[in-house]
């Protein structure tokens, strides 16, 4: 009997609360109990989110939290001393220079390809620079926004050299390793289905496990982006008997990802990239930027370097933001050569300014 009374009370309270919570945040019901009311008032404080822009949050915090890879040599790599190095790390540094004027106001979060978008959606990181391919579903369904590409990549296969594989069709019946949670996984499945090539997929969460499976001959091929393939081959140069296939099976434009709906923050990421492209386009390097600044007659170059229109101020940055980026980090070409071109022997390919036959086109600074 006693239990039944208690149960009835609980049920009634459930009903009351469901009704009061169902309506769009009406005033806390005083009709429940006087004891419960303070609890209602006290609880929301930590969970209700302040609506501030990412830029403001970053400035208040004093550093940018960047989602990166920790084991992709050339692009982003965690070194033995605990610091990060690589192409994408330098892009993050450019962003830090744009916002704070120095390249060291960064905190890196190493993420797997599986975790990366969730980390961005949930607000754990401010920006994601982690070989993320731009595509429509990520842009729309995942609640993300992308900048224009900072790297044009394409997917291919790395195979053993001595077993007579030259085209994709030779891979009939082979075991192929691929990273899970990446576009390579879906691309591989799609192209193999369309070409009706039977294969055995083997998916791995991180690059090291996948490499170890390939080197031990557990799989016949790995499917990765061309840039990764080059890095992969450079790492095992002495092993010598691996090669990348010529075929490119997909377009992989890599972009910087931010949360959907914060266009001010996206603008900063986007125009930071354009500043890097502009430097590359007009041969403004970290070495000659001071000289260019004092001698240039081009109004656009003046705008970029902070002597013309106040572009920086309009984005909530200092006016010499782009000058500082090129001065402290270098232009796109310098970053590329420093991290990929010289140590990894990656060729520029499409990753050149439009006036040199590539695809990079900095929108006008006007």
């Amino acid at each position: 009997m006693k239990k039944r009374v208690t149960l009835a009370f609980v049920l009634i309270s459930v009903l009351v609360l469901c009704l009061s919570c169902g309506g769009k945040q009406e005033s806390p019901e005083p009709t429940t109990t006087s004891v419960a009311a303070p609890a209602v008032a006290a609880a929301p404080a930590p969970v209700v989110k302040e609506k501030t822009s990412t830029l403001q949050q970053v400035k208040d915090r004093g550093y940018i939290v960047v989602g990166v890879n920790a084991s992709n040599p050339g692009f982003a790599y965690l070194q033995e001393d605990g610091s990060y190095t690589g192409f994408e790390i330098d892009l993050a540094k450019a962003l830090s220079v744009a916002v704070f004027g120095t390249p060291d106001k960064l905190e890196f979060r190493p993420l797997t390809s599986k975790e990366r978008f969730i980390a961005l959606q949930s607000g754990e990181i401010d920006v994601l620079i982690r070989t993320a391919t731009i595509n429509s579903s990520r842009d729309t369904e995942l609640g993300l926004d992308f900048t224009t590409p900072y790297f044009y990549d394409g997917q291919t296969f790395v195979v053993r050299d001595n077993i007579g594989i030259n085209t994709m069709e030779d891979l009939e019946g082979a075991s192929i390793a691929v990273l899970t949670g990446s576009t390579t996984e879906t691309n591989l499945a799609a192209i193999m289905a369309s070409k009706q090539i039977e294969y055995r997929p083997l998916t791995f969460e991180n690059l090291d496990e996948m490499k170890s499976a390939f080197i031990n001959d557990r799989v016949d091929a790995v499917s990765v982006d061309k840039s990764s393939a080059v890095v992969f081959l450079a790492q095992f140069e002495d092993a010598g008997d691996f090669k990348g296939l010529e075929e490119t099976i997909s377009k992989e434009p890599l972009g910087i990802a931010v949360r959907h709906g914060d266009s001010a923050w996206k603008d900063i990421c986007q125009w930071t990239l354009f500043a890097l492209f502009y430097g590359d386009e007009h041969a403004i390097t970290s070495a000659n930027v001071d000289e260019v600044l004092s001698t240039t007659t081009s109004p656009e170059t003046k705008n970029v370097l902070g002597k013309g229109k106040e572009i920086g101020a309009m984005m909530g940055l200092s006016n010499d933001w782009a000058y500082q980026i090129i001065k402290q980090v270098g232009n796109y070409g310098e970053i590329f050569d420093r991290n990929l071109g010289i140590p990894m022997k990656v060729t520029r390919g499409y990753n050149k300014p439009w006036n040199q036959g590539g695809l990079f086109y900095a929108n006008p600074f006007n």
């Binding site: 009374v5 208690t6 919570c21 599986k114 959606q121």
Partner: protein, 403 residues
């Protein structure tokens, strides 16, 4: 409640234990509901803000990915739901087999551990102590990377029964490489159904014989072989029917060496076997200790009493030790079984596509983290509660009835 309370109206609210309890319960319920609804509202708000209103519609969409092993057939046009089912079947099948084998191995190790032979005893101790104190993930990684991946490659595979066919094909009865194990296997042919019917009849006949023997035992008091004879009858009848049926019910499926891989036959991948054997090694060490506790928990007097009644060694174990040990063993054993089902999720580290691995992939490809996490939690919970229910039913049946 037939007793009426004296001066019912005079008791202040805070001194009435009964009402106070109700009030406390009420406040607690209110608190829980407020917190849950706030969290829920918060999630919905922040998801709507970035344009992701929770929905389960994505389950019907194409998955766009291939997975390495599956019991049901899946490809990149299968729906996400079908992929989840496939992962669930992978999880279920591997945990079911792992539970059975680790129980058997656990029993053997427990018996070794209880043995009076110094060497056997110490070996069992070393096994249990080492395995129990290594994290399972580490065990799996060592097992996979240091053992299975280091096995010879497919070209240098360890091979038994190699025959060259006319078409230039090479058949292998058994092969072991770092891709896994391939072996010749029997598969049901097109004429399998009549054989299945015969087996069913044989089963019914065997059960009838069992009941008859039990009946006779109860009547005459003479001990009968209730298990052995019906079992032999079943096997015998099945074999006879197989031989007598006009078309063979089973056909041989012998693996064939291809350019890269071996196809056909029964193929066990290195990943599956790593996870399976890793789980067995790990779980059996715990189960061995549970068995030992159960057996040693029986007072020595029981065994001495059985001996003095003239029961043989085997009969002492079967009639005195096991019935009493079971009571102690079942509850902790249930926890171990639940652990196995959940531990299969570590297969993600070595590329085995279990439920958890597939969930992760779908989360990443569809971006539906909240929905998928809720779904996968519900699945694991159902699985665990089901295991628990079965074990609890069994437990309540074997509990010593105290009157």
């Amino acid at each position: 409640m037939s007793l009426t309370r004296p001066n019912k109206t005079n008791i202040p609210l805070w001194q009435d234990t009964h009402k106070r309890q109700i009030l406390a319960q009420f406040i607690f319920a209110v608190l829980v509901i407020v917190i849950v609804s706030l969290l829920y509202g918060n999630i919905i708000d922040s998801l709507s803000e970035i344009g992701m209103i929770p929905s389960f519609r994505f389950l019907r969409m194409d998955s766009n990915i291939d997975i390495s092993e599956s019991i049901i057939s899946v490809d990149n046009t299968s729906s996400n739901l079908r992929l989840i089912v496939s992962g669930f079947l992978n999880t279920i099948s591997i945990s079911f087999l792992a539970i059975i084998f680790s129980t058997i191995l656990g029993l053997i190790i427990a018996l070794c551990r209880l043995s009076t032979n110094y060497l056997i005893n110490k070996l069992a101790v070393i096994y249990i102590e080492i395995i129990r104190n290594i994290p399972l993930l580490l065990l799996l990684l060592i097992w996979y990377r240091a053992f299975f991946l280091k096995l010879p490659g497919i070209k240098e595979a360890i091979i038994f029964g190699k025959t060259l066919q006319e078409g230039g094909q090479t058949q292998l009865s058994f092969s072991l490489s770092n891709r896994g194990i391939s072996m010749a296997w029997l598969r049901p042919s097109d004429h399998f159904t009549p054989f299945l019917v015969c087996m069913a009849i044989a089963f019914v006949v065997a059960i009838a014989l069992g009941i008859f023997l039990k009946h006779r035992e109860n009547h005459t008091g003479k001990e009968q072989r209730i298990i052995l004879f019906p079992f032999l009858l079943f096997i015998g009848l099945s074999l006879i029917s197989y031989a007598l049926l006009p078309n063979a019910a089973l056909q041989k499926d012998i693996p064939v060496l291809g350019k890269f891989n071996i196809s056909g036959g029964l193929h066990i991948t290195a990943e599956w076997f790593s996870l399976f054997s890793g789980l067995i090694l790990y779980t059996s060490a715990f189960i061995a200790e549970i068995f030992r506790a159960g057996i040693q928990g029986i007072p020595k007097g029981q065994i001495e009493a059985a001996r003095s009644l003239g029961l043989s060694h085997m009969k002492t174990i079967r009639l005195v030790i096991i019935p009493q040990a079971k009571v102690v063993i079942i509850p902790p054993l249930t926890s171990q079984y639940l652990g196995v089902a959940k531990n299969t999720s570590l297969g993600v580290a070595i590329g085995f596509p279990d439920l958890f691995a597939i969930t992760g992939t779908i989360i990443n490809q569809s971006g539906r983290a909240l929905e998928m996490i809720i779904l996968v939690m519900a699945i694991y919970l159902t699985l665990s509660l089901l295991t628990s229910l079965i074990m609890n039913l069994y437990n309540s049946r074997i509990q010593i009835k105290e009157r």
